[in-house]
Each structure stands twice: as C-alpha cells, then as structure tokens.
C-alpha cells in the first residue's frame, strides 16, 4: 500500500509524536513532533525533519549544530498516531550535549543523572 503522510492520525495541532532510536545500538535518543509535511520531507531527503512547537517552524535536526539524524527506516504504530524513526545520529541528540535526552532516571524515589555530556 502506498504511503500517504496525510493518512496518519495527527492531534488537534496537526502533529504526531516521533520516537528517534539509534539504529545501531537501540538506544532511545529523543521524542519530537512532525506534521504531515515534515514526514514527507524526512522521507524525501533522508534527513530527519521535525516541527518545532516552540519556534513554530520546521527543524532539520542538526542543521545548525551539525548533530544530524540520517533516516534508516520510518515505522508507524498500530493506531497510526505515533512514528518510530530508526536513525544514524551524528554526535549528541540532546541540546545538553548528551547522546540521549533521557539521561535522568528515577531511582529509589529520587532523580539521578545517569549520563554526562559528550566531549
């Protein structure tokens, strides 16, 4: 079946959550959002492109930082309201310079930082 980004289920803001996973290691790096056009651009260019809710603009990941995400494969969930992108991440995915945005764990009721910024 041919894939049409418009046939995904977007929320009231026209957005869908996207999980970015390191294709090589399996590490979950971040969650961000796309609209239909960002999905189309990502598939067309192979450069993962989100919709920035704070800036209200397209956001080609790494365009300014150099920490790009190359798309290996895009997957859709059963409800068509979430995407998983398997990617090749250059450098850190997180704006704190950590590899993953999920660097804080809850252990014994407390928040613990479990990863340091990359060199």
């Amino acid at each position: 079946m041919a894939f049409d980004p418009q046939e995904l289920r977007f929320d009231a803001q026209g957005l869908i959550p996207v999980i970015a996973q390191d294709e090589a290691t399996g590490e979950v790096l971040m969650l961000a959002w796309m609209n239909a056009e960002a999905v189309r651009r990502t598939l067309e260019t192979g450069r993962v492109t989100y919709w920035s809710r704070s800036r209200q603009s397209y956001w080609v990941k790494g365009e300014t930082s150099g920490h790009t995400q190359r798309l290996i494969e895009m997957r859709i969930d059963c409800d068509r309201d979430c995407l998983l992108v398997l990617i090749e991440q250059t450098g850190p995915a997180c704006h704190t310079n950590r590899r993953s945005c999920f660097y804080t764990a809850i252990r014994e009721g407390a928040e613990v930082v479990i990863a340091e910024p990359m060199e």
Copy 2:
C-alpha cells in the same frame, strides 16, 4: 532530588507521552500516555499504568489480557515532557498480538508489515 510527578510537564489534557522499551532487547514496544497519578501508581506498584484517552480511565497494562509490563526503570527527558519506561513485557505489547505496535515500515514509498502476531 526527590521526584514529584507533579513537576513533570503535562500537556493541556494533563498527559505526558510515555515510550515503553523492552529492557532486555532494546525494542521499542509502544507509546501511550500517563497523567501524574498514573506516573505515581506505576512507580509505587511496579506495574506500568497508563491513562487511556479513549476510555478516559486508568489502564493497568495487561490487567485483562495478562500481557503485563513490569517496570524496571523510569527515565525523564531533558524537557521533562516525555517519559521512557524500561520494562519487562509479558507476551505481546500490541492489541494486534504483535510484540511491538511498530510493525509497519515505510519502504520505497509503501507500507510493509514487518512482524506477524505471536502464537
């Protein structure tokens, strides 16, 4: 720092997206939603508990199907608006009886089913 679920950043509906990842294999199994009380219950009981947007009720994963999720670790992202739960999944996570909800890939512009239901 002591963890308080109320200090997460919830959306306008009081919800936060939660990525469930198989702790043993690294496979991303599903994305669902929690409110602050669901986060609290998940940490307290070790049984992953979501908020069902369609049923508008708490949803202890696997309570009726037996396909439970045991919490190994909960992580928070840098923006505090997304959670990652590392879990031990019993049986399939998906209501289609597949291990993961992300069983459809986009390949050469078409949707391809890449996983079959479990026995």
